[in-house]
């Protein structure tokens, strides 16, 4: 439908006759996905491809190409590009989920074999590598105590540093602190371990202990807490600070009673995530806590055990029974971290500013 205009230089704008356009039914992506999986299985079986990964990649490729071609022929190029982007996002999402799902599946499947009440409540005191039995009680105690001690050191320092940086820091000093926090974030865990080893054990002459390990873990924990707390404090609107100051509330009380409560959910999540991070550290624990198959509940005296270290040791022992124990301990570690994360989410939701009427 073109209209004749008296002035020829302007070409008439092309408009579709109707606003409706041909569109694929809602179930079409699912159909394309099912079709590409079927074709990929066919190709894989026919060509005799051994690896299921190859089958999956073929299916993914078919899905992307298929949905683009189908949309291009039925709906037009703009919608086809949209479908291309959507299908790419889905394929990438699945690629990201596959390793996670398979990791959890493997750990649960192999770890469930010896994971029971006995395993959680007994140590490795009189159990040789090739014997069955034994448990992670000593390692669980060690991890809990070391993580707790590290948190006791790192959480106050980290929180106060972040409060200084956001609420008080001006000029050179805060820039220097920010820079060093960034540097600390990049410290490999083994270096933190070596630092405490040379300072605490070699120079000052203390013995291996859970406390020494906790100090190294605290070094790793601090920058994570500073960074996450800083971001959360920056999210608190300045208007709230001003509202409080304008009421004649001193700055320190404003921070304590207005700023921190507003950000507490996010801060808690950050702390929990940093705890989860250090709970899985092996290197500094290996250097500083050493190894102890016996239950040692005193983190300040003598070597302890810890979960990641236990996994490493049992796997290195290389017997069937120790393999089982390694997987079960890995399962316990994942469970421990997952409980922490869930707790953090719960606290964040519970403490979040309420909007109800």
């Amino acid at each position: 439908m073109s209209t004749t205009t008296p002035t020829p230089p302007r070409t008439p704008v092309k408009r579709p006759a109707t606003l409706k356009a041909a569109s694929l039914p809602r179930w079409s992506p699912l159909a394309v996905a099912a079709g590409s999986v079927a074709v990929a299985v066919g190709i894989g079986a026919a060509a005799g491809l051994e690896s299921r990964i190859q089958w999956g990649l073929i299916a993914a490729l078919l899905f992307i190409v298929g949905s683009y071609v189908l949309a291009a022929t039925v709906e037009g190029t703009r919608q086809a590009k949209d479908r291309l982007a959507t299908s790419l996002v889905w394929v990438m999402f699945l690629l990201a989920v596959v390793p996670l799902a398979s990791l959890i599946y493997e750990t649960v499947q192999r770890g469930a074999k010896v994971f029971d009440g006995y395993f959680l409540t007994h140590s490795m005191g009189v159990v040789a590598d090739e014997e069955t039995g034994g448990g992670i009680y000593h390692a669980l105690i060690g991890t809990l105590e070391q993580v707790l001690l590290a948190s006791v050191i790192a959480v106050p320092v980290g929180l106060l540093t972040a409060i200084y940086l956001v609420e008080y820091g001006r000029g050179k000093l805060s820039k220097v602190i920010t820079f060093f926090v960034d540097v600390m974030t990049g410290i490999p865990s083994i270096v933190a371990g070596l630092f405490v080893l040379s300072f605490w054990i070699l120079i000052l002459g203390f013995d291996y202990s859970g406390w020494a390990g906790a100090m190294a873990l605290a070094i790793l924990m601090m920058p994570v807490i500073v960074r996450s707390t800083e971001e959360m404090l920056k999210l608190v609107p300045n208007e709230l600070r001003e509202a409080s100051l304008a009421l004649g509330v001193p700055k320190w009380r404003t921070i304590l009673k207005v700023v921190l409560p507003t950000a507490i959910g996010g801060i808690t999540t950050g702390v929990m995530l940093s705890v989860a991070r250090i709970a899985g550290e092996t290197a500094p624990v290996l250097l500083l806590v050493w190894v102890n198959p016996l239950i040692n509940t005193n983190p300040f005296d003598g070597s302890q055990a810890s979960l990641p270290l236990y996994v490493y040791q049992q796997y290195a022992a290389g017997t069937d029974a120790s393999y089982d124990r390694a997987w079960a301990a890995a399962l316990a570690l994942i469970g421990f971290i997952m409980i922490l994360n869930l707790a953090a989410r719960g606290v964040a939701r519970w403490k979040a500013p309420k909007t109800g009427r």
């Binding site: 208007e239 001003e242 409080s244 004649g248 509330v249 507003t262 909007t355």
Partner: protein
């Protein structure tokens, strides 16, 4: 209780940028003084210098004198926290504390300062909410979060919060700019009642509002963008809106500005 403010030779800076230049004026007690003028002319900055909130902004700095009755707010040894307890402020956007209930929001000034008796608190909250014309709307849900109220109610909550600490002067920075006409009317009526007890200074972009609520009006202007803002004139509101002594004021008020 209300006090007079005498400003002489006040200049305020943001870092090296001079925001307002050499302002002198008197704010009468138990009256409403309105500040009008184009955006960026320093009305809000000047308002914030009156209770030392200006220096909260990084780089904020002030020269000159602000006398509250006979005491210089910027004199040596003056505690800005004490100044802000005497001179309260209501902001442009309603900003109730999101973690606190309606009750705690109003009680915040007393609670956070730590100087209160539990028995008094209920009375103060009720009195302040009544003073802000909000009591009837919220008396059944004092324990609900303040952020659940409508914009106009939130702003009245903020006014209740400000008057709960019994200030002597109340500064309002465009308190109605985010509100609909009905909420605006409610706040304007409230200002009329509050001026019996407080000295009120209000910044507004709404000329009709200045004409309606204020006894005296100050017109601010700036020579050019980037130049510091100046006080053009201050006079009885009636005169400013009928027969101002400066041509620029008449141009601005009649919309022939620039």
């Amino acid at each position: 209780m209300a006090k007079r403010i005498d400003v002489s030779g006040l200049t305020a800076f943001y870092g090296s940028h001079k925001a307002i230049d050499d302002i002198s004026m008197t704010v009468e007690p138990r009256s409403v003084t309105a500040f009008i003028g184009p955006s960026g002319c320093g009305k809000s900055t000047f308002l914030r210098t009156l209770n030392r909130m200006h220096e909260v902004t990084p780089g904020g700095r002030v020269e000159g004198k602000v006398l509250l009755d006979d005491e210089d707010l910027y004199g040596s040894g003056v505690d800005p926290v004490a100044v802000r307890r005497t001179i309260g402020m209501v902001f442009q956007r309603p900003n109730p504390f999101p973690t606190m209930s309606i009750f705690d929001n109003v009680a915040a000034g007393l609670k956070l300062n730590g100087s209160y008796k539990k028995s008094e608190l209920n009375d103060v909250v009720e009195k302040s909410l009544k003073g802000a014309n909000l009591w009837n709307e919220v008396k059944d849900r004092l324990n609900k979060p303040g952020s659940g109220l409508s914009g106009g109610q939130q702003q009245r909550l903020c006014i209740a919060r400000a008057i709960a600490v019994e200030p002597q002067v109340l500064l309002m920075d465009e308190p109605c700019s985010a509100l609909d006409p009905i909420s605006t009317l409610a706040i304007e009526d409230l200002i009329g009642e509050l001026k019996e007890r407080f000295t009120i200074v209000i910044v507004t972009h709404n000329m009709q509002q200045a004409a309606r609520v204020s006894d005296r009006t100050a017109f601010f202007n700036l020579a050019a963008v980037g130049q510091p803002g100046k006080l053009v004139e201050i006079d009885e509101t009636e005169r400013i809106f009928s027969n101002p002594s400066v041509q620029a004021t008449e141009d601005y008020i009649s919309g022939r500005f620039g």
